[in-house]
């Protein structure tokens, strides 16, 4: 029998239930025996109960030693996966370079971009202007666009050879599909959808903070015993690095072994979405509509405001389920998580599954007829009124103010 990772010392436990209250996962019960019992299938070993216990009655197997094992000194630099599509670097990459710079500086390491593609010269130059000290480039016709297997195999190979300390990747469709494979192949820890990153000054560990349970709780996660430390980062949370034409850096062309390019999938067709000029994942401003918009034609009213603001149109599930707008616009638990600078919710009640997808937006504006709608609890600015009337007025007021 292996040693339990956490245990209650029966003699010390007085059955006070402080730990029961402290446990975020409902893993502790105090039964008739009047001692705490930890359900290991629910426990995540977060240590909240150990801290809460006034009687030192809960013991956790010691955490990894504070100093990094020697082998870790081989692992250097902060890497950013440069996501590109159609020969254009995706803006999340610049956000990662902005954040990666801070991490690299506090670790006294270099900031590197990793670029996979075809005819990549203009892109690698831009990555340097945006702050990369080095750009590792795999340039092959087979890598022109994202394909799961060759991209994962090539990146895995680079990670094994160059041993980065940290690898950051956008929490996008491509980013999550790719880096999950690389993390498993390289035995790396991978934390999803981070909204905060920092370096622990004592251990050098990457402190990765992310929302869980639809944003109801936040968790800070580390990878103490493995390198590299990998994380995907939510779009629009970090600040983009500025482009500086005077910056210089190294471009390191990588040889790619043929075997790495093998793939069992093939892209037959790529179909861009019709009509939508900005995707909600990338938009700085989202004008979103719910059942309160009442009919599909009224989404044109939202599109007009979005057009004036240079934003995208989002929707609640109720609007999507009524076929007023395609699923790719759905915000929330079963849709997309977005984090724009401004989110304007029109005729959306603000059920928890919707909030899960948008409550970390910088500014939230809510327009709803019902003063008691839960959306007002998260709104920065709330307006009780008819969205069908207010939105067009808002459109013309902005048009005037912006000189459009």
């Amino acid at each position: 029998m292996t040693q339990e990772p956490i245990k209650v010392i029966d003699d010390k436990c007085v059955g006070c239930r402080l730990c029961v209250k402290a446990c975020p996962f409902g893993a502790i019960t105090v039964g008739e025996s009047r001692v705490a019992v930890i359900d290991l299938t629910k426990c995540t070993l977060c240590g909240a109960c150990v801290e809460a216990c006034k009687f030192d009655a809960i013991e956790m197997a010691p955490k990894a030693a504070a100093a990094l094992p020697d082998a870790f000194s081989d692992y250097k630099d902060v890497w950013v996966f440069a996501e590109q599509s159609e020969g254009r670097i995706q803006s999340v990459t610049y956000e990662l370079l902005g954040e990666g710079r801070k991490l690299a500086d506090s670790l006294k390491m270099k900031l590197c971009a990793v670029l996979l593609g075809s005819n990549t010269k203009p892109l690698s130059d831009e990555l340097i202007r945006r702050g990369a000290d080095k750009v590792y480039v795999a340039d092959r016709p087979e890598l022109e666009y994202f394909q799961d297997e060759p991209y994962a195999a090539v990146l895995t190979d680079m990670v094994r050879r160059h041993k980065p300390n940290i690898v950051l990747c956008g929490a996008t469709t491509i980013g999550r599909s790719l880096i999950s494979r690389v993390a498993v192949a390289t035995n790396a820890g991978l934390t999803a959808d981070c909204t905060g990153l920092a370096i622990d000054p004592e251990t050098g560990n990457l402190l990765q903070t992310r929302p869980a349970f639809g944003g109801n709780i936040m968790a800070t996660i580390i990878t103490p015993n493995n390198r590299p430390q990998m994380a995907t980062v939510r779009h629009k949370v970090m600040k983009e690095s500025e482009s500086d034409a005077a910056r210089t850096g190294e471009v390191l062309a990588q040889t790619v072994a043929e075997a790495l390019l093998k793939t069992r999938t093939r892209r037959l067709k790529m179909v861009p979405e019709q009509g939508a000029t900005v995707s909600i994942a990338e938009a700085n401003i989202i004008v979103s509509g719910g059942r309160g918009m009442q009919k599909p034609e009224n989404f044109a009213v939202l599109a007009e405001l979005a057009g004036v603001l240079g934003g995208a149109v989002g929707a609640s599930r109720a609007a999507v389920d009524s076929d007023w707008i395609p699923y790719s616009h759905q915000v929330g638990q079963t849709g997309k998580t977005v984090c724009p600078k401004i989110y304007i919710a029109c005729g959306i009640s603000g059920q928890i599954q919707h909030l899960a997808g948008m409550s970390s937006s910088d500014v939230i504006v809510a327009i709803n007829r019902d003063a008691d709608a839960p959306i007002f609890k998260v709104a920065t600015y709330g307006i009780v009124g008819d969205a069908l009337k207010i939105v067009p007025m808002l459109t013309s007021a902005f048009r005037k103010a912006l000189g459009k």
């Binding site: 990772p5 209250k21 975020p24 290991l40 299938t41 426990c43 240590g47 955490k63 799961d148 469709t173 491509i174 999550r176 599909s177 999950s180 494979r181 993390a183 498993v184 820890g189 991978l190 999803a192 959808d193 349970f213 639809g214 109801n216 709780i217 936040m218 968790a219 800070t220 996660i221 580390i222 103490p224 015993n225 069992r264 999938t265 892209r267 037959l268 179909v271 861009p272 401003i285 699923y327 790719s328 079963t334 600078k341 401004i342 059920q351 928890i352 409550s359 500014v363 504006v365 998260v378 920065t380 600015y381 709330g382 009780v384 207010i390 007025m393 808002l394 007021a397 902005f398 912006l402």
Partner: protein, 264 residues
């Protein structure tokens, strides 16, 4: 063909509340449900079986009570169910979870298409599906919104992207993760409910999988949670009252700078 659907039991987030005094999730009395995306995965498995024949096996790694999720899947029409449950799995992160599930799928032996949900609603990682594919060295199509063609050698599916979709062909066996758009899940039939009650659920422990103990549970998990906290509440919302003209003018005033900044 053999369709293996991975499902996870999660707390029903509509009911998860924060205790204002202790700042922790109140789980007491919170119902458990099948992860919403996994319901679409089950439905798609059943539809594929109806299309090309074969069987659907649902599998979950979780505590003994996760059996309820498996029975629910059977009531929808799944043929077989496997519960992978052991204390040794406690503290698993996505690395260890995908390893454990991959070992179980290896033991099943003849999986043609493995179907996962896009992501689980408690962790929201979307990492376990691709993780399983990597452990099993299988190709993957993630974020599938439609399956156009399928036979025992190849599958053609549409992957939803941020700004459109792509049509991808893969050899079989392979792993898919599915989004909500893919189908409309059926409700359990009366016959299904009867079958679910009687169904024999296969139960596997760590030792049954021939798994490397060092890769299971906490030991096999590179990531560790060090802190849990509630996000600071969104401070000081403001209600704008007055005539529509006044309110819109006020909104333009407070937002204009951000709008201009966002455009640059």
């Amino acid at each position: 063909m053999h369709f293996v659907v991975c499902i996870k039991q999660v707390p029903d987030t509509t009911e998860v509340r924060i205790d204002p005094k202790t700042n922790t999730l109140m789980r007491e009395g919170v119902a458990s449900i099948i992860n919403p995306f996994d319901v679409y995965a089950i439905e798609e498995g059943i539809r594929l079986r109806e299309r090309v024949g074969g069987k659907v096996t649902v599998i979950t790694m979780g505590p003994p009570q996760a059996e309820a999720a498996l029975r629910e899947a059977i009531s929808m029409g799944a043929d077989e169910a496997i519960l992978v449950s052991d204390r040794a799995f406690a503290g698993s992160d996505t690395w260890a979870t995908s390893y454990t599930l991959s070992m179980a799928i290896r033991k099943i032996g003849d999986a043609s298409v493995i179907i996962c949900g896009k992501q689980a609603s408690d962790g929201d990682t979307a990492q376990v599906g691709p993780g399983i594919a990597t452990h099993l060295d299988l190709p993957q199509i993630t974020y599938v919104r439609r399956i156009d063609e399928i036979d025992d050698k190849r599958i053609v599916a549409e992957r939803l992207l941020e700004d459109g979709h792509e049509v991808i062909e893969s050899s079989v066996p392979c792993l898919l993760t599915v989004v909500k758009e893919i189908n409309e899940p059926r409700l359990p039939s009366l016959r299904g409910k009867m079958a679910a009650k009687k169904a024999q659920i296969t139960s596997w422990k760590a030792a049954d999988l021939g798994a490397d103990p060092a890769r299971l549970g906490l030991n096999g998990s590179p990531t560790k949670v060090v802190k849990i906290f509630t996000p600071p509440p969104r401070g000081g919302g403001q209600m704008l009252a007055g005539e529509p003209e006044q309110v819109t003018a006020r909104l333009v005033e407070v937002l204009k700078e951000t709008v201009v900044g966002a455009a640059s």
